[in-house]
C-alpha cells in the first residue's frame, strides 16, 4: 500500500514545519503499524495489541490506545522481550538504535524542546528515512520529496502563487500556538549571553574586573543581592569579561554593550518569575553521552574534560548521581541539562550550567 501524499512544505515557518512533522509521523505509524498488525493477524494473534497494552500497564509504562501510534511502535521496538521486533521488516540492532533516536527526537519535539525550523525537520526526516529504508516502507518516497523541497527552500525557492495556506489540523494549530507563546517568552527573557531585547536599564553601575565586583560611585553594590552577591557578579564577568559600565533594568536584567549591541549578562539577584524546574529554550543541536566519568559530544566525538574552560568535576559528579553510564542527555540554549525520565515520557531538568563548563562555543 502506498503512503498517502503529504503536503509539501512551502516555507520555513513553525506551522509548515509542525504540519510536516505531524503528518509524516502519522503516516509512518500507519504504514508500519499496519504491517505489524498484519504480521500478528497472520499468526492468529488477534489480541496482540490488547495483550501488549496489559503488559505495559503491569510494567507501569505509558498507555497507548492506537496500534498505529508511532510512539507506541518506537517504544515497543526497543522494549526487552517485546514481540514487536519480530513483526518489523528489516529489524536489527541498527534499526533499534535509530528507532530510539527517533523516539527521543519526537518526544523532545512534543515537549517544544526542538527549534521548529527546517534544520529540525530535516533532522527528524533523516532518521525516519533511515528506518523507512530498512523496513522498505513506501513512505520513503514522500520523505525524499520533502527533503528535496527543504533543499529548494534553502536555495531560495518560493511558491509561484503565494496565497492562503491550507488549514492545519487542530493538533498542529494547538502546537503552533504553544510554540508562539514559547518564542515570545524567549524574546522577552533570552538566555544569558544573548542579545537583550527589553528596555535598557536606567541604573548604571560599573563591573570591575580587577575587583571582581560591581561598583556604584566606587562602592560595592554586591551586598544588595544578598550573601551570594559577589558570586553573581563573577557570573556576569563570564559574559562581560573586560568589565565596564553595565545597566540594570527595573526587573533586574543586567546588560552590557559588546560592540555596540546590548547583551544580557545576568540578573541582579534572582531572575524574577522563573520556576527553577522549568526547561527553557531549545536543545542545542548535539546529543551528549554520559561516559561515567566524562561527557561525550556524540556529534563531534569530543570530551567535555578536554573542551571546558572551567573545572567540570562537580558537574560530572552531579550527572553520576542521576544518570547511568551510556545514557544520553541534552542541553538547552539556556544551559538546562535535560534527560528523559525512566518512564521515557517526561523530560527532567538535572541542573543549569553556564558556558564555561560546557563545550567551547556551544552555549552563548
Amino acid at each position: 500500500m502506498a503512503a498517502a501524499e503529504i503536503r509539501l512544505i512551502t516555507e520555513d515557518s513553525v506551522a509548515d514545519v509542525a504540519g510536516v512533522i505531524f503528518a509524516t509521523s502519522k503516516e509512518f505509524g500507519q504504514e508500519l503499524g499496519n504491517i505489524v498488525n498484519l504480521h500478528f493477524l497472520s499468526l492468529g494473534k488477534m489480541a496482540w495489541f490488547s495483550e501488549l497494552r496489559s503488559r505495559r500497564k503491569k510494567e507501569g509504562k505509558g498507555d497507548y490506545k492506537d496500534p498505529l501510534d508511532i510512539r507506541f511502535l518506537l517504544f515497543e521496538s526497543s522494549a526487552p522481550e517485546s514481540p514487536l521486533p519480530s513483526a518489523i521488516p528489516g529489524f536489527s540492532d541498527g534499526w533499534k538504535d535509530e528507532a530510539d533516536l527517533l523516539r527521543r527526537k519526537l518526544n523532545s519535539w512534543m515537549h517544544y524542546s526542538l527549534e521548529p525550523d527546517l534544520d529540525t525537520l530535516e533532522d527528524i526526516l533523516t532518521v525516519m528515512s533511515t528506518l523507512a529504508q530498512m523496513s522498505g516502507l513506501s513512505l520513503l518516497k514522500e520523505i525524499a520529496k520533502q527533503m528535496h523541497r527543504i533543499h529548494e527552500i534553502r536555495n531560495g525557492w518560493k511558491p509561484e502563487v503565494p496565497g492562503p495556506q491550507e488549514p492545519q489540523s487542530p493538533e498542529v494549530e494547538a502546537f503552533v500556538s504553544e510554540v508562539k507563546v514559547k518564542k515570545d517568552r524567549i524574546f522577552a527573557r533570552p538566555p544569558v549571553g544573548s542579545v537583550w531585547n527589553g528596555p535598557i536599564g536606567s541604573r548604571v553601575i560599573e563591573l570591575n574586573k580587577n575587583l571582581r565586583d560591581a561598583l556604584e560611585d566606587g562602592v560595592s553594590v554586591a551586598h544588595e543581592m544578598g550573601p551570594n552577591g559577589k558570586e553573581k557578579v563573577r557570573e556576569w564577568l563570564r559574559y562581560f569579561p573586560q568589565g565596564g559600565d553595565i545597566r540594570v533594568s527595573d526587573d533586574g536584567a543586567v546588560m552590557g554593550y559588546i560592540k555596540g549591541v546590548p547583551i544580557l549578562i545576568g540578573w541582579f539577584g534572582e531572575e524574577p518569575d522563573v520556576n527553577p524546574d522549568d526547561i527553557r529554550g531549545y536543545y542545542l543541536p548535539h546529543d551528549y553521552e554520559f561516559t561515567g566519568s566524562d561527557v561525550k559530544d556524540l556529534q563531534t566525538g569530543s570530551l567535555l574534560s578536554e573542551s571546558a574552560k572551567e573545572d567540570t568535576k562537580e558537574f560530572v559528579k552531579l550527572l553520576a548521581s542521576s544518570l547511568t553510564q551510556g545514557q544520553i542527555f541534552n542541553v538547552t540554549t539556556y544551559g538546562d541539562v535535560v534527560h528523559e525520565s525512566d518512564a521515557k515520557e517526561d523530560l527532567i531538568k538535572l541542573t543549569r550550567i553556564h558556558k564555561d563548563i560546557w563545550f567551547s562555543g556551544q552555549l552563548a
Binding site: E206, N208, K209, N210, L211, R212, D213, L215, D217, G218, V219, S220, K230
Partner: protein, 192 residues
C-alpha cells in the same frame, strides 16, 4: 574611619580586604589574586577617584587606580600611570614599609605628567601652606629623607629620591603620600 585632609584633597576609606586580580607592578605575565584596601580621593575641582592599596602574596605592595566617576581630563593620566610601589622589609620582629615620594610633573615637551624626583619644598608648594614633613609625620612617617640615607643597602639607581619609612600596613600614610604626589601634583599642574 575619619576622612583625611591633604591640602585641597580629601581621602575617605572605603571597603578593605577586597579581592584584587591583576598583574603585580612590573612583574608577571599573568594575573594573580591579591587583596585591596580601597580609598576615595575627592578634590575641590571635582575629582572623585578611587584607588587601592594592594597586597600580593609574594610581591611588593602597591597603590593603583580602581575607578572614577568625575574629574578634569588631566586626571585621566592616573588611570594608567602613577602607580606607587611599596618596599616591604622586616627588621627583626618589625615589618617596615617605605616608598619614594616621586611626584607627577608636567614637562615643557610633554603633554602628560610623569613621575619625577621631588624635594620637600616641592611638596610644601602643593599643600596650601601646610608643611609636607609635618603632614607625613602626623600620619605615621618614621623617617623622611634621601633614599641613600634611609636605605643605603638598597638605593637602586635613584639614591637621591625623597624617601619615607613607616610601620607596615600604615594605610593612612600610604594614601596621604600617594594623594600628595599624584593627585595634588596634577591638580596644581606641577612643573608647568
Amino acid at each position: 574611619m575619619e576622612k583625611i585632609q591633604v591640602g585641597l584633597a580629601t581621602i575617605e576609606w572605603l571597603e578593605l580586604d577586597q579581592t584584587w586580580v591583576n598583574k603585580p607592578m612590573g612583574k608577571g605575565d599573568f594575573d594573580i589574586q591579591g587583596v585591596c584596601d580601597k580609598f576615595r580621593v575627592t578634590t575641590l575641582d571635582g575629582l572623585n577617584m578611587v584607588f587601592g592599596i594592594i597586597r600580593w602574596p609574594a610581591n611588593k605592595p602597591e597603590v593603583g587606580y580602581i575607578t572614577h566617576s568625575s574629574g578634569e581630563l588631566k586626571y585621566e593620566r592616573l588611570t594608567s600611570a602613577g602607580r606607587l610601589g611599596i618596599f616591604d622589609k622586616t627588621h627583626g620582629d618589625e615589618s617596615v614599609w617605605s616608598f619614594e615620594l616621586r611626584v607627577m610633573k608636567f614637562g615643557e615637551a610633554q603633554t602628560q605628567p610623569t613621575l619625577k624626583q621631588a624635594t620637600l619644598k616641592d611638596l610644601d608648594g602643593l599643600l596650601e601652606g601646610q608643611s609636607a614633613l609635618e603632614l607625613l609625620k602626623k600620619h605615621g612617617a618614621e623617617n623622611v629623607g634621601k633614599r641613600i640615607e634611609l636605605a643605603p643597602a638598597e638605593v637602586g639607581n635613584r639614591p637621591n629620591e625623597l624617601f619615607v619609612t613607616t610601620k607596615a600596613r600604615n594605610n593612612d600614610l600610604i594614601a596621604v603620600g600617594f594623594t600628595l604626589t599624584r593627585v595634588l601634583a596634577i591638580m596644581k599642574d606641577f612643573g608647568k
